[in-house]
């Protein structure tokens, strides 16, 4: 693994949107000695399949899995995540919003204790700050992060054998990291690090994957508490 390399991985089905997302990444400050690369996966059959394909294509130690409609606006994003990962080797994965504990429904945003901040437009398609609980330390350790952006310092396979669609791949991956002994966290963001231009999201087959998640991880989650 190349510890001086970061790879930005996206599943793409909208070229204009992805091009815009890349424009923001190219405007970030890249510390001296660090190399960034891009892997875009087209025609993925699922998020997990696409991300596994992207993961295998790169030898970068640090991988940033992000939706094609996410724009990184913190110019010091790269420096900050490298500093955090160096200081917290047990933290395997970071996100920008998520939940302290995944509730019985498996739906992270139904949790009582939520953390992080993002600029997004899922509510009524008008951009707004989504400010959840404030992270006061470097990192808040959580159980689940939203899949809009998932930043890793270790490679673990995405469960394409179970989640062959577009939902619950994110919370599944959080469970996989926790099972492997790593922490998942949300960093302190003085200003939002990202914009998620998602609009009102599709919920097609959401309940199907919710049930798969509950069936597969229910026992593991109970045992870990």
């Amino acid at each position: 693994m190349d510890q001086y390399k970061l790879c930005f991985i996206s599943c793409v089905n909208d070229e204009e949107l992805y091009e815009e997302s890349v424009r923001y990444i190219n405007s970030l400050h890249v510390p001296e000695g660090i190399v960034i690369e891009f892997v875009s996966v087209r025609n993925a059959s699922s998020m997990t399949e696409g991300y596994n394909h992207g993961m295998k294509m790169s030898d970068a130690k640090y991988k940033i899995y992000l939706h094609q409609d996410v724009f990184l606006i913190n110019k010091e994003f790269i420096t900050e995540i490298l500093d955090l990962f160096h200081s917290h080797p047990k933290v395997g994965m970071l996100g920008v919003i998520g939940a302290k504990q995944i509730p019985p429904s498996g739906v992270w945003w139904e949790a009582k204790e939520q953390y992080g901040v993002v600029i997004e437009n899922s509510f009524n398609s008008k951009m707004r700050f989504l400010s959840l609980g404030e992270v006061t330390n470097d990192i808040e350790i959580v159980e689940g992060i939203d899949g809009l952006i998932m930043i890793t310092q270790y490679d673990l396979p995405w469960r394409e054998d179970i989640f062959n669609g577009w939902h619950f791949y994110d919370i599944s991956q959080c469970m996989e990291f926790i099972k492997a002994g790593y922490h998942v966290g949300i960093p302190r963001q003085n200003q939002p690090w990202s914009i998620h231009d998602c609009g009102v999201p599709s919920t097609e087959s959401y309940d199907v994957y919710q049930q798969i998640f509950l069936d597969y991880y229910g026992v593991i989650r109970e045992d870990s508490r």
């Binding site: 204009e16 424009r23 405007s27 398609s125 008008k126 951009m127 707004r128 700050f129 231009d197």
Partner: protein, 133 residues
């Protein structure tokens, strides 16, 4: 590219300093070529932009610096409607008015608004001196 999306992308780049100068020039160009009206841009700002006042001021001044004079004050006026006490907007309106020779109007405007910002007060003094001389 869809109309709204193109404008959104350009305005958001200005908002977050991503290829900002190029985005300003593109906005000025679409205004000059009448591909979009001021109100189209303001509609997108209302829906898609968080830092509305910053973007409106940037476009207003961008129009001024690139000879798209008819659009300058309208953008700054929209910014003023969002925040009637914003010192940057007040300064920019006063500055633009005096630069196009409307010193009396600039002074009258700065007298109307309640703003104790150092830059605005200094500008007011400079305009007053021009009127007296």
């Amino acid at each position: 590219m869809k109309v709204d999306r193109r404008l959104t992308f350009l305005l958001r780049r200005i908002e977050h300093d991503v290829d900002r100068e190029q985005a300003i020039l593109e906005i000025v160009k679409v205004l000059k070529e009448k591909q979009y009206a001021i109100k189209d841009i303001c509609t997108v700002i209302e829906k898609d932009i968080i830092y509305k006042i910053k973007v409106l001021n940037t476009i207003g001044i961008g129009c001024f610096l690139n000879d798209e004079y008819d659009s300058v004050i309208p953008f700054l006026e929209v910014a003023l409607r969002y925040s009637p006490t914003d010192p940057d907007t007040i300064y920019n309106i006063g500055y633009v008015l005096t630069k196009i020779g409307l010193n009396e109007e600039a002074f009258g405007f700065l007298n109307q608004v309640h703003c104790l910002d150092e830059g605005v007060l200094e500008l007011k003094q400079q305009i007053k001196a021009k009127i007296i001389n």
